[in-house]
């Protein structure tokens, strides 16, 4: 009896190791950092006029069908959110009378929503078959339908609810912004940036975009400043009068950081952006998973113990 008890304890210990070794700091997965060549854009809500030129440019250059939100008149392309036919959308924040732009009380503001091309994307960590991958150089998160099994775990995982699924199709796929990688390949820039007439969306290296964003936060409200249009360091510029900013670059750190950066005059949670900590969910999930399964050491020890004990006990029973 004594011996059996000890055998059992050994196995239980290995099993315990398997499950409870949870958050051993030495095994924690390091946070990921932005690649030097990461590409993205800066969206400045105070510059945006809500013209939605980016929405139609995105549709056109990604060959996406129209998406109607009014069943009575399905011929209008007027989606209310990103969906399986819409990679990019401009949303409206409105409070009270809505009269003053970029003011929280009795004001309104616009916000552009698309894939954030996260530094440590939850969708990439979640996808069981590597259908979602992050380019190690430019950091674009793209989708490979020939791998995807359609489990929709990426949808559950993404804190921005970006991957969209074709529920209405017989042979569905996931749809999301891939930073116009087909255009990047040709040396062009994302359609939404190229066709933004105001400079609200400017394309560039994330490093430079971050510097530009920080610079704008220093501008005095009411002063006249030069804002790049389409891309940083390009020819097109526009001069405009600065309106007050919320002193935060959304996307610099949120959820482990993103490659799309945001400036706004209204708090980001009001604009519908999720309030995330600095640690990505992917890091947290993988830390716990790796603690249990690193090198399959714990499971193998556990299995060894099980084989020994079960072998002995099945003999006993005969």
């Amino acid at each position: 009896m004594e011996i059996k008890r000890r055998d059992f304890l050994k196995v239980a210990a290995a099993g315990g190791l398997l499950v409870a070794s949870n958050a051993h700091p030495a095994l924690a997965r390091d946070p990921k950092t932005r690649s030097k060549d990461a590409l993205g854009f800066l969206y400045d809500s105070t510059v945006c006029t809500g013209c939605k030129a980016c929405v139609s440019a995105c549709k056109q250059y990604n060959e996406m069908p129209q998406s109607s939100s009014s069943p009575q008149d399905p011929l209008w392309d007027n989606p209310l959110d990103t969906d399986s036919k819409t990679y990019n959308i401009i949303k409206l924040y409105k409070n009270g009378t809505g009269e003053i732009k970029d003011r929280e009380q009795d004001g309104h503001a616009y916000v552009k929503r698309q894939c954030m091309h996260c530094v440590d994307p939850a969708c990439v960590s979640a996808c069981p078959v590597s259908a979602l991958t992050k380019d190690p150089k430019n950091g674009v998160v793209s989708y490979n339908k020939s791998a995807c099994i359609g489990c929709r775990y990426c949808q559950l995982a993404c804190p921005y609810n970006i991957p969209k699924f074709e529920f209405e199709k017989t042979f569905p796929q996931i749809r999301k912004c891939q930073l116009c990688s087909h255009r990047l390949e040709k040396g062009e820039i994302p359609a939404c940036a190229e066709f933004c007439p105001t400079g609200a969306t400017v394309f560039g290296k994330v490093e430079d975009l971050l510097a530009e964003a920080r610079k704008r936060l220093q501008y005095k409200p009411g002063s006249k400043q030069v804002y790049p249009v389409e891309r940083l360091n390009g020819k097109a510029v526009a001069e405009r009068e600065v309106t007050p900013y919320i002193p935060q670059v959304y996307g610099e750190k949120e959820g482990g950081g993103t490659q799309i950066l945001y400036l706004a005059g209204v708090p980001f949670d009001k604009l519908g952006m999720p309030m995330l900590g600095e640690r990505s969910d992917a890091q947290r999930s993988e830390t716990i998973q790796h603690a249990i399964y690193k090198g399959m050491v714990a499971p193998i020890i556990f299995l060894g113990g099980l084989l020994y004990v079960v072998h002995k006990n099945t003999k006993d029973h005969k």
Binding site: I149, P159, A282, I288, T314
Partner: protein, 393 residues
Amino acid sequence: MSEESRPLGGEVLTKPFKVLAGIFGFALLLIAIRYVFGIGAVSNLNDGYPWGIWIAYDVVAGTAIACGGYALALMVYVMNKGEYHALVRPALLASVFGYTLAGASIFVDIGRYWNAYKLFTPWYANPNSIMFEVAFCVSLYIGVLWIEFMPAFLEGVSKYKEHLPEFVRNWNVEGLRKTLNKFMFVFIAVGVLLPTMHQSSLGSLMLIAGKKLSPLWQTGLLPLLFLISAITMGYAIVIFEGIYAAVGFKRPIEMPLLTKISGVMPGLIGVYLAIRIIDLVVRGAVGVAFQINIQSLMFWVENALYVAALVYAAPVANRTKPKPLFLSAFFMLMAGTVYRFNTFLVGFNPGANWSYFPSFSETVITLGMISFEIMAYLYIVKKFPVLPKAEHA
């Protein structure tokens, strides 16, 4: 071992069986519609709630309810309590069908099922993905369960030929059975390892949902809580099924055995509740339970069920009586199921614009899966040596 189990015999096409067959037939029709017109044609699943009852019930709760085989293997082969041997087969049978049907449900749920083999293709497989681990382990375990159940099947074939359909009667199975028995310990050991891995990982699946999952359920201890509750549900289903089948088939209840098994329940539930409460306190999430909304309501329902299971199982005298024991097992199964629904659906909130409640067709498909499971169970216990031989039936 073969002396312990006997086929029940008796009519297969009973009334309840026909009703179940009807539900299953209806579900098959709806599944056909899903394959032709897409998932949206039969379900209320949407971009905010990509997972519904097919995952929360059929897979997550369903496999936990099917943990009887695992829980008994822990007791019989790991803790070396040979006296429970007679219960292993019926438990294993329920596990075989519970898991197999969960696997089948996944093929209804995933949108690009023709790519499923990519899970087993090394250059596609993503070991960082908890979904990968779950899918891989569950598939392997379904195979292991069928192998573990093989001896009963083969015995049935060789000893009770007269009960069997024509096509299996002529197989020569003795040799296969002997070889299988020699290596059975390997499958039993793997059959303990795999559920330990995937039942905990089923909880880990929700880690990456981050803030979309309410703090009442979002915790780094998800894998531990899921594992403990799955094992407890495993013992609960053995007790539930033991009593239910005995009453249903008018056989004596194996009371002494069930009483003994139920001895582990109070401890398991107690440990679970202690971890659950301490975790909520440490994370400072207790306040959330006192907000007035559906999430907090379901939180209390969930934990009240746990407490009910504990209250019924704790007194030693209760465990010798079928009724309180049955109730305890029932409450435990409900508690674990509600915990899983809460973690995957009720506590999940992708944002104000989204909502989900299962559609009629979606629910029928799930009911159809359950019906098939029960039909298969009824057929097999009547035709194969699964249930313990009744002493005085």
